[in-house]
């Protein structure tokens, strides 16, 4: 029986690309307003999992529920009203302005055939203000910097009024300041009641902000728990095959990688199918 008040429920999801298992019996649940981190090495299934949640991929086994409805049975337009994605990058070859791009986020909610209504515009204006995009609104997407681009992406996702926000590698091209800024903003969104799921390679960043962290390897969940439970040298060693120490700095956990494991030192991680 699913627990009460769960916004997102993932039940034994399996997905394979041409006989290769990329997701292998994944199950977890997420509450409204929860900030979830998804970590794991390349090819561990993080992105595939995000794609299954927003209906882009259909799991061969298991089911995903958004607000109690099974995603694979929902219309795309219904999913889009509940679940938004923040992509890693934006297309910049069509002369689209920042403002036009943010407006596209309203697509699922606009009922007219052609024009947005005042409510849509208010949402967009609010997001532009929140993410400090006013000076950039007339700029073309190819003219904005990486840090600004991330704010544009978030603004577009927010005007979609999602209950679940899926973020894939938000900090890939960002320097330290912008990485922290993006995570602060995502954290803020989760406190406003949006369930935020972030997939990232940056363990320390996720540990710092997330309520719960899920570690994936080979398409399965190795461990799911609070940052303290998940952040152990043993788990990092198992999952990433890296020798690491975990230290506490000003009350915050920080993983410091030391060296990759050599052949013979590696162990098989649990959860492997």
């Amino acid at each position: 029986m699913p627990a009460e008040g769960m916004l997102l429920r993932i039940e034994d999801v399996e997905f394979s690309y041409e006989a290769v298992h990329t997701l292998n019996g994944v199950r977890f649940e997420a509450r409204p307003g929860e900030f979830l981190g998804l970590i794991g090495p390349n090819g561990s299934g993080k992105t595939t999992l995000l794609r299954c949640i927003n209906g882009l991929l259909k799991p061969q086994k298991g089911a995903i529920y958004l607000e109690g409805s099974q995603v694979s049975k929902m219309k795309l337009s219904e999913i889009a009203k509940v679940c938004a994605g923040v992509p890693t990058d934006i297309p910049d070859d069509f002369n689209i302005s920042v403002e036009e791009y943010v407006y596209l986020g309203r697509y699922p909610h606009v009922e007219n055939i052609w024009w947005e209504e005042r409510e849509d515009e208010e949402q967009v204006e609010h997001a532009i203000e929140c993410f400090e995009l006013d000076p950039l609104r007339r700029r073309k997407l190819f003219e904005v910097s990486s840090g600004e681009k991330e704010r544009v992406l978030l603004a577009k996702a927010v005007v979609q009024e999602p209950k679940v926000l899926l973020v894939d590698e938000p900090s890939a091209h960002l320097d330290l300041k912008f990485k922290l800024e993006v995570m602060e903003r995502l954290h803020e969104l989760s406190r406003r009641g949006i369930t935020v799921i972030v997939a990232s390679h940056d363990i320390n960043l996720l540990i710092k902000y997330c309520d719960r962290v899920i570690i994936m390897k080979n398409g399965g969940i190795v461990k799911c728990g609070s940052p303290e439970e998940v952040m152990t040298p043993e788990l990092i060693r198992d999952v990433y095959e890296v020798e690491a120490v975990v230290v506490r700095e000003d009350g915050e956990l920080v993983a410091v990688p030391k060296r990759p494991l050599r052949e013979g030192e590696k162990r098989c991680a649990p959860g492997k199918g």
């Binding site: 794609r51 927003n54 209906g55 882009l56 219309k75 795309l76 337009s77 219904e78 999913i79 889009a80 009203k81 679940c83 938004a84 994605g85 992509p87 934006i90 297309p91 910049d92 070859d93 069509f94 002369n95 689209i96 302005s97 403002e99 036009e100 407006y103 596209l104 986020g105 697509y107 699922p108 606009v110 055939i113 052609w114 024009w115 947005e116 209504e117 005042r118 849509d120 515009e121 208010e122 967009v124 073309k140 190819f142 979609q160």
Partner: protein
């Protein structure tokens, strides 16, 4: 009125204003060019004279009566031709705009995707080989063949592109493969049957020379209907620019929509090419010019492409008609005028425009 103003925000109002402005300016210039078009040709008519002839012709359409010479020239020869030019201008420009959005590549147009070449091959085969078709039937057999050829070439390009990965680049490459192969077939046919060369060669560079009322209506009516369908999907076209994954997350199955929209674009191309031959470059430059003028929002871009496309092609055909020493193929004129203009825009707008 009050209700809709209440519901509408500032940005929508601004966008609407820009749309109305561009449509107003475009229509005024279209009207001027239209009258100018009616007055140009072998028989020179003044601006006022041709307008009088037009009014006279339209009046006699309903009341009956003998047409004067100038009424006949304007009403029976130049008017259908002007309508055909406008129809083709609209059709090719919108087809180009749709293809560019759908393939997410500003470098494609009906010509690059091989669609026009497919029409040319099929039409040439019919014209050169004839299949024993009598000349009166040939007038209809050629457009029908062109239509079938356009659709076949288009589907071949699409299948090739999707089989090779379905990315933006694959569509361009597949189009070049299809277009080049089909153009060679056309060239081989033309060189193998030299006595028949004049007609197909002229046809391959586009000409409005043989337009009558039937053909004009067969061009303009389907073009307008299909453009109207495209206009209904303007917002979806905007979302599609973001790519498959992001469109999906906003609630659009872009692969499915793309298939339908591409069929629409191919049909628009086929309607145009079937009656007047290949007019390359128009479908490429008009959406680009409009994107520079009004941006990428298809709610502005599609109507702007329609009106600008009609304007540009009218100008080109006026040049063709007024050339000394016989009529010029309109496709060649478009390319000659369009290429430098497009180059100028690219350089001037350089940084501002990443198309």
């Amino acid at each position: 009125m009050g209700q809709s103003e209440k519901m509408e925000g500032q940005t929508t109002k601004r966008t609407k204003k820009r749309l109305y402005l561009i449509m107003l300016l475009g229509s005024v210039s279209l009207f001027v060019l239209f009258i100018l078009y009616l007055s140009t040709g072998q028989v020179k008519l003044g601006f006022v004279e041709s307008m009088q002839a037009l009014v006279g012709y339209l009046g006699k359409l309903f009341s009956g009566g003998e047409l004067t010479t100038s009424e006949f020239i304007v009403g029976e020869i130049r008017l259908p031709r002007a309508i055909a030019v406008i129809g083709v201008g609209i059709a090719l420009s919108v087809a180009g705009a749709i293809m560019q959005a759908m393939i997410r590549n500003p470098l494609v147009d009906p010509y690059i995707t091989g669609t026009s070449s497919g029409a040319a091959v099929a039409a040439t085969v019919v014209m050169v080989i004839g299949f024993g078709i009598t000349s009166s039937l040939l007038d209809f057999a050629v457009p029908i063949a062109a239509f079938v050829g356009a659709m076949a070439a288009f589907f071949f390009t699409m299948s090739l592109a999707e089989a090779s990965g379905g990315r933006a680049l694959n569509y361009v490459l597949a189009g070049i493969v299809t277009g080049t192969a089909l153009s060679s077939v056309t060239t081989l046919l033309l060189t193998s049957f030299p006595t028949e060369v004049q007609d197909p060669l002229f046809w391959m560079f586009g000409s409005f020379n043989q337009i009558d009322w039937t053909k004009a209506l067969l061009i303009i009516l389907p073009s307008l209907v299909m453009c109207l369908i495209a206009l209904l999907y303007a917002r979806e076209l905007n979302v599609i620019l973001l790519g498959h994954e992001q469109s999906y997350q906003l609630g659009i199955d872009s692969r499915r929509l793309r298939r339908w929209m591409m069929v629409l674009a191919a049909m628009l191309t086929a309607v145009a090419v079937a009656f007047v031959g290949i007019i390359g470059f128009l479908g490429l430059i008009v959406p680009h010019i409009c994107r520079i003028m009004v941006g990428s929002d298809h709610r502005l871009l599609l109507p702007a492409s329609m009106i600008i496309g009609a304007n540009v092609l009218l100008v080109a055909d006026i040049i063709c008609k007024t050339a000394t020493g016989g009529e010029l193929p309109v496709g060649a004129v478009i390319a000659l005028v369009g290429a430098p203009f497009f180059g100028y825009l690219l350089v001037r707008k350089g940084r501002e425009y990443a198309g």
